[in-house]
Symmetry: C3
Subunit: 430 residues, 3 copies
């Protein structure tokens, strides 16, 4: 456990944005001290269990790679000026670059330079985890302004045996059944594609109060982190009843839900029910994107959807220096959190009931559950919700089923079921 | 049995409208002499079995209430003028009002007055079956013209032990399987929402001639009447293979079919097939509306749809004095009857056949069933209907299945099946 | 066997059109020397097994009719001019006309004359296989120009015991499972409705090279030919896993696929997948059209779809002299062939695989199957195809399933599966 135990009031969008801003400068990769520093900051908000897995550990079909750390990197021109400077933005170095210290002309350097010719002011984000090479990322404008050289080229990095680091935060529920929320923590200074998801996950975790499900939050590097977690938890994945990868949670676009491989798992249905009332987009499952790729691999086939605003690779700022602190807004973070809480609220609140008075309608008025003055043509949602719960509570329909068929908000049906329970008209099925 | 046995020619829209007009002035409620008088009039057209169920009888979760009767009611001003007068419209009294005889100011009276401020010329319809109170319904215009009073306020009603009255008309079929048509008979002077359905049901009943199914027509007060019938027929409801509540059958709107709780029962499919060729609307099931609420309660789950023109609570005149004899038209009544006859015709005519020559097409021409001059590009519907019946008569598809898949009218397929039966090419399956 | 054994390069649209043109003048019917001459020409391109079935043979519910042959026919006016002349177009005689030699006035002749008043320049196509009569087809313009007569009327035909002729060409596959392609060969000078389908079938047959399925091509008269074949192959139809009737394959309209009776057989799914990327139309099954009527009769219920361009009876030139050599184009023939080859390619290439590394994604990069420089936002179709094949290869999804769910082209998935097979990451299921 690291960090203090703290659960508190709902984090505002502004507070979530502050967290994003604190995490933004850290140079994360799939291993290394940037990840540890990130988890330290998260640990100030949530108690975390941090796991360190040694280089060389076999995890499913993969092997934990060497740990990468970097202190400095630059391209200096003849006048000693840093034309490209890691200290200004950690995006300038290709992730997992091997160390280099050399003098070379622009022509020699060019195969190691990455730009975005169609977005000439932006610096791209590139990595090379499994092929030993080095490189710099810079704006096309910077490249265009560079002379023939020679240049002093330095990457002061290390690639050595070490560890892969990830962390978990678990909120115990009344049941062992788990809802799992997974965020990747391997992207350097990209605000939406990484940090926004972390911030919303932290905010959800802090808002939970004796939930029905046990909630497991995973903060791990993408792909290799999820694979490592799955490898170390193969026997326990059966507990995960619902899962979500959370990413791109703070951009101004509309909410997007990507279905699980199962296509209509409870998480899919809950998300669609919640999003129906909002501007949103639904994507079919595909084995590409975030770590749902791993959780939904056919051997595991976990019911993992993915919640984002603009989805993976769907905005021009994606994987560029344009994904910065201005691109993420407090309002968007708050909106994602609200939707996420509603979705988990549906999963936590879903139950199946049995109508104990199933022949005809029970007389609700006698029990104080119905307006007594008949003949009025308006119908209150609360009464309609009771009639729907009674009508479909034959032991085969859960409240989410009722919500889908009635087109009533889940919360109204949850309240109706509580009123009917209190009146002894329904009972929960085993 | 009350009334003469009479079956006769198809009732015209004008004749149905006459029946509506005769029933219109009677002051119906869920019990009382208004219901009896209504059934007397219906009994002039159909033999009825009338049932009287004593006050206090337990029926499912409910109890038969006291019987309500009313002789007179008014609000008289100081000059002795009846400002509100039950003799002008029975809508003026809240149904099930307890007796009152008092003098009071307008302010004292006001909590007992019901108006429609947004439809200031119309009188609303209100009831209070299960809460002992009293009240008057009047137009907002009338209320606005009333001075401070004092007023003489009289409701000459009785609420005493008595009976709940309902009636059945059964047309025996060649089979014990039943088609049940249910109409409510508890609304006072409302022409569309009550009387139009009664008139169309009477017309259907009179048009039946040795049907396959046994037809059961139920004329009963809404909710408590259906509940009473269900309570007294729990062991027999299994005979009901198809059911319809019939209401709002005479307004100028398009036909509306509301699906059963089962969603795709034969009644649903038959109705949709018939309505496909007409301007119409289909509504999903909901546990609100007419007595399909009771028939489709989960303990019974009977295949009851609802046939209306503009549906329950769907028109501005609904439950107001605007639902009068002009709102209902002979043409609309005739149109509803025609659709209803076609729907029941599909149910009566549906059968499953087995193609006795299922390998390749049988040579229809040799049997006089096919035009002999080939090569023409136009195809007659009758021949297409025979090919469809032959193709799908594998013992697993009924004619309604064939109608749905072929998009041919049921009647054409029925004729084709008859021709193929006569030719020995198909036989009916058990 | 007739004709030389020859398989060769893909026939071009021009070559197919040449074949159509050679077949065009022959006077085909459901029996007779026109069919034999047609099969002789086809036999120059493909080895054929020709079957002769005697008149009177009972075939399912039918009987092989007498053989019809015709040498000449005309209507001569008083000046000896042939007003209607079989030698100019074989459409001028109603198929299966009995012989006639008589002199008669126009009024006497008129019941035997067939025109298209709304297409006055075109000659209709008519037959009378099973009712003994005779007749001429002519343009309305010709009829309008005819005087009162008398006319010399001659049809020099014979209708005698003989044979029904059909032919098969079989391309043995690595499996006994068959794909069957059926074309009708009974229409006289109609280019699209008959000959285009024959030409495309010939081209497909010539292009096959050690296919997985055994391919059976049937060239038979419509209806009675298919019925005869089915009657003689009842025990073998179980081998037919996929079937297509091929007709109207050369007109300029868009491709049309008509579903099989089963509605979503593999042939239906393969055809829809291929056509999705093209302008096309999909029709539901109906028991009308070409010989899918027989193959899809309920006793056989074979998975036969129908591939055409403009469908059966769907163009003004249908069954008229307008369906001529200009109506069929080389480009349309080539396009139909390409689509047909893709459809059969899907069926031949479809397989089900098992991911041997199903827990998480296998590390493709290590095996040279994945681009090594991460962080780029564009994804190559080939890599996506591998991820999809891996994700759905749980033994329950074939490549066609993957194609439908991923919306990737079948060919890309086929290549991905081959790469994964080579890498030992998947194996074929039994």
């Amino acid at each position: 456990m690291t960090g203090p135990k703290m659960t508190g009031p709902r984090m505002t969008g502004a507070k979530m944005h502050e967290l994003v801003a604190r995490l933004y400068p850290l140079c994360r990769s799939i291993t290394g001290d940037g990840v540890r520093a990130t988890l330290d900051v998260v640990g100030e908000h949530l108690p975390l269990t941090v796991h360190e897995v040694p280089t060389g550990t076999e995890v499913l079909d993969w092997t934990v790679p060497e740990e990468w750390n970097i202190r400095d990197a630059y391209i200096k021109d003849a006048s000693g000026r840093r034309v490209v400077d890691f200290r200004r933005s950690n995006l300038h170095v290709v992730g997992y670059s091997v160390p280099i210290s050399a003098t070379m002309t622009l022509d020699e350097l060019r195969p190691h330079l990455h730009t975005l010719p169609e977005q000439p002011e932006l610096v791209p984000y590139r990595t090379s985890y499994y092929a030993r090479t080095w490189g710099f990322c810079l704006s096309q404008n910077t490249l265009d302004a560079m002379g023939e050289g020679p240049y002093e080229v330095v990457i002061d990095s290390t690639l050595t045996a070490g560890h892969l680091t990830y962390a978990e935060h678990v909120v115990p529920g009344r049941s062992d059944d788990e809802i799992m929320i997974s965020c990747h923590v391997c992207h350097p200074s990209l605000a939406n594609d990484n940090l926004a998801g972390i911030a919303v996950a932290v905010a959800l975790a802090r808002s939970l109060d004796r939930p029905r499900h046990t909630y497991r939050f995973l903060f791990a590097p993408g792909t290799i982190g999820a694979i490592t977690w799955l490898s170390r938890n193969r026997d326990r994945v059966g507990r995960i009843k619902h899962g979500l990868t959370l990413a791109c949670a703070g951009d101004p676009g509309q909410l997007t839900y990507k279905r699980s491989r199962r296509d209509d798992a409870a998480i899919d249905r809950a998300a669609l029910h919640v999003l129906k009332g909002r501007s949103h987009r639904v994507l079919p499952f595909s084995p590409y994107g975030y770590d749902e790729r791993q959780f939904c691999s056919p051997g595991f086939d976990l019911p993992f959807g993915s919640l984002t605003r603009t989805p993976y690779a769907g905005y021009p700022e994606y994987h560029t220096s344009g994904d910065d602190l201005e691109f993420v807004t407090p309002a968007a973070l708050a909106d994602t959190l609200e939707a996420l809480q509603q979705i988990t609220g549906v999963l936590d609140g879903d139950r199946t009931y049995l109508n104990l008075s199933p022949y005809g309608e029970p007389q609700l008025g006698r029990r104080g559950l119905y307006g007594s003055l008949g003949g009025r043509s308006d119908t209150k949602q609360a009464q309609l919700a009771m009639l729907w719960v009674l009508n479909l509570s034959d032991g085969e329909h859960s409240l989410l089923d009722v919500a889908e068929r009635s087109d009533l908000p889940f919360a109204a049906l949850r309240e109706a079921a509580d009123a009917l329970l209190a009146a002894g008209l329904v009972k929960e099925t085993a």
